[in-house]
Symmetry: C2
Subunit: 491 residues, 2 copies
Amino acid sequence: MAGAVEIETASPNVISEVEILAVDFDPTAVVAEPLPPVVTAADGGPSESEEEEEGVGKPVKKSREIVLGRNVHTSCLAVTEPEANDEFTGDKDAYMAGVLARYRKTLMERTKHHLGYPYNLDFEYGALAQLQHFSINNLGDPFIESNYGVHSRQFEVGVLDWFARLWEIEKNEYWGYITNCGTEGNLHGILVGREVFPDGILYASRESHYSIFKAARMYRMECVKVDTLVSGEIDCSDFRVKLLANKDKPAIINVNIGTTVKGAVDDLDLVIQTLEESGFSHDRFYIHCDGALFGLMMPFVKRAPKVTFKKPIGSVSVSGHKFVGCPMPCGVQITRMEHINVLSSNVEYLASRDATIMGSRNGHAPIFLWYTLNRKGYKGFQKEVQKCLRNAHYLKDRLRGAGISAMLNELSSTVVFERPRDEEFVRRWQLACEGNIAHVVVMPNVTIEKLDLFLDELVEKRSTWYQEEHDQPPCIAADVGKENCACALHK
Amino acid sequence: MAGAVEIETASPNVISEVEILAVDFDPTAVVAEPLPPVVTAADGGPSESEEEEEGVGKPVKKSREIVLGRNVHTSCLAVTEPEANDEFTGDKDAYMAGVLARYRKTLMERTKHHLGYPYNLDFEYGALAQLQHFSINNLGDPFIESNYGVHSRQFEVGVLDWFARLWEIEKNEYWGYITNCGTEGNLHGILVGREVFPDGILYASRESHYSIFKAARMYRMECVKVDTLVSGEIDCSDFRVKLLANKDKPAIINVNIGTTVKGAVDDLDLVIQTLEESGFSHDRFYIHCDGALFGLMMPFVKRAPKVTFKKPIGSVSVSGHKFVGCPMPCGVQITRMEHINVLSSNVEYLASRDATIMGSRNGHAPIFLWYTLNRKGYKGFQKEVQKCLRNAHYLKDRLRGAGISAMLNELSSTVVFERPRDEEFVRRWQLACEGNIAHVVVMPNVTIEKLDLFLDELVEKRSTWYQEEHDQPPCIAADVGKENCACALHK
């Protein structure tokens, strides 16, 4: 039956209204050769394809210049067509098992040496492995069931309620959903702000996450960048100047509950005070709090300005794979019901019962979060926050003790320090770097033992980097302040 | 140590530049009571919170009116704080194991009876369970490694290359990434189109996926809806009229490779021809192909208008959890490198080496896709497409044989038919409905046996719904055409 009709029609297939299911249609007639040819350069120039074909089955490592908007095949595990007798020989299965075993080993090694990103790599979800067999999809709104039955809304709503309680908003006054990542939360928060104030100006500090500026561009919003203090916090005196210059338009403000690089927490109370003193009444501004990492740590830190819906804020987002820990990225977005009503009043916008950014949504992520929240609870998180802050102080103190420039913001577990000279060392410890600085984010899986290993290695390597008199570590006073700089001039 | 300092400062915490890490800062000092109180209505009105508290630990099922922008707690598994002695008693673990076991049973039951959504629920990823222990994140660009080492870019690029070959574009001429779902692909494709033509008008047929209209609103683009034929395809004569009325502005067109409801495939060749005949040269239009489901089936169907980058198209997106099958939603987005260069030339837009919509990206999804593509290959998909089309015809023929209105587009496995009167029946089989019509999408996991079970049940139930002379099945000729309608008038 297969391949019964092997001739493709040559002309474009213009189907008129009555031609649907023409009698001569043979559903078993498929194209003769399903295997597309490898596309090669039309101009006959050297094609990268061929180069890469050598790498079939194993990663090809090449060192090339990194340019944005380039498709650089540094590493690729090519998909290969199964052989006709694969099922019989088991060759393919064996090959794939080998690839996966090697990959797993790499992941273990990399997980062990990871310090730079704010991901808690310490989790144990063995009890949930049984759910991997199901295609769990919470498409659309968390509070409105679709007809697709294989979902996890009951877990999702449980998690949302937990966060609503944390940020002090009533169950029937909030709306929210579990996102794919912190960026989606920011995209949603800024969009809600724009829908509430269509001609509003977006204000965000220079050290805000890049997704905020991506949102401004995507949504065609006017965006004003506000200066930061050395700590990385928003500079409210600059904010005031910029607000006063734009008094005629409502303000949409991104407040960082932990900046990406320095872990600086914007002072929410001072931001609100500045708005009020600049003549912005509560019905003329919208505040989105980007709580990526610290949104979940702050409630447990003494003296931290409290993030709560009892203050005039519009939305809060936080990442799920960061402090909580999760195999895949996810996040939580909570906003006020009244704002979602603004969105939903516009039927054309939604064209469905859906006020999320995405359509289909990962139904596994809510179960991972539900599982950890249930096991740890508020008290468990408190303990972990405490441990992280303590270990971060240990790291900072030991760095300074070794004569290395370092800064740690009061409410943060992100230790900023002099960028290691050797890129291999940076890659080994997976440090995030920007200009002359690098950082370590102390997460629950980062132990004193791991920090000691890292510090010993850094101190030893550093003694080989800076042997010569004229070859000294860089001054990073501009990034961390003079008092935190240990360069020749400032130490 | 914990709780050493239990007094919270009363005034907002204004941190000046030099106050970072004030000497009196005690990192172990956390807030005294980490457990936030349950928020209750300030006005003393009946709070939904209390209502819901009854449901702690078990889903609360209530029947309420479904209104968009409402936070309806129909079903919620509340997160509860662990007891101090939980670890000792094991009560919590036992409770959670019970919840999960019941949930798994529900999922199995629902998976068994699912017919309405285009998800292939037939997959076996046991070999990948070992990877659930890792926080795999392909943050940013697939082709530019970040410093975060726990990623799966080598798998992602392998999958992208496979799709590039399918859609006939060279490795060094495309750019793409693995998305979170079909919607993200559409959001990306439309955004690229808008960046290429900032004043372009978006054209999309009325039966396009709602994410297209969501994108238009998000991106503040002018959007023109084009009529459809009864089949669900774009009506190119109406398209022509609307193009001619807007000749002064470039065109950005969404072409449906399978509409959501009727599975209609827009005629790509006719769309291009209409553009050309209306005076739009290739440098004045951008076509995004929304291939959600059929993007992966079409290449294997005879007579289907071919989706290929040899034609003047800008981007193609397809869902990964649909025809391929995957535990969580995902998708593939492929575009031309030259368009990404337009994006990337704008440094402020990106503010990072990143041209994706999201920031952090699920690193597990590429491995699931890689695994299935390797096992099935082009030839395996060909066989499955064949089977789906054959079974879809079987379903349509049996429906018509039983005197039930039904339509099946030639290139599709989506069978549209008269909406069952009973909502419980609709929910049981998880049918997607719109107005008077419902549909079944025949996916690889939908067997003849399952269809027989469904048909027998439908025919039996139907005989009870339409017993009276004056109580007849609805006419759905407006939706499916007279020739497919079996109502009293048209049969």
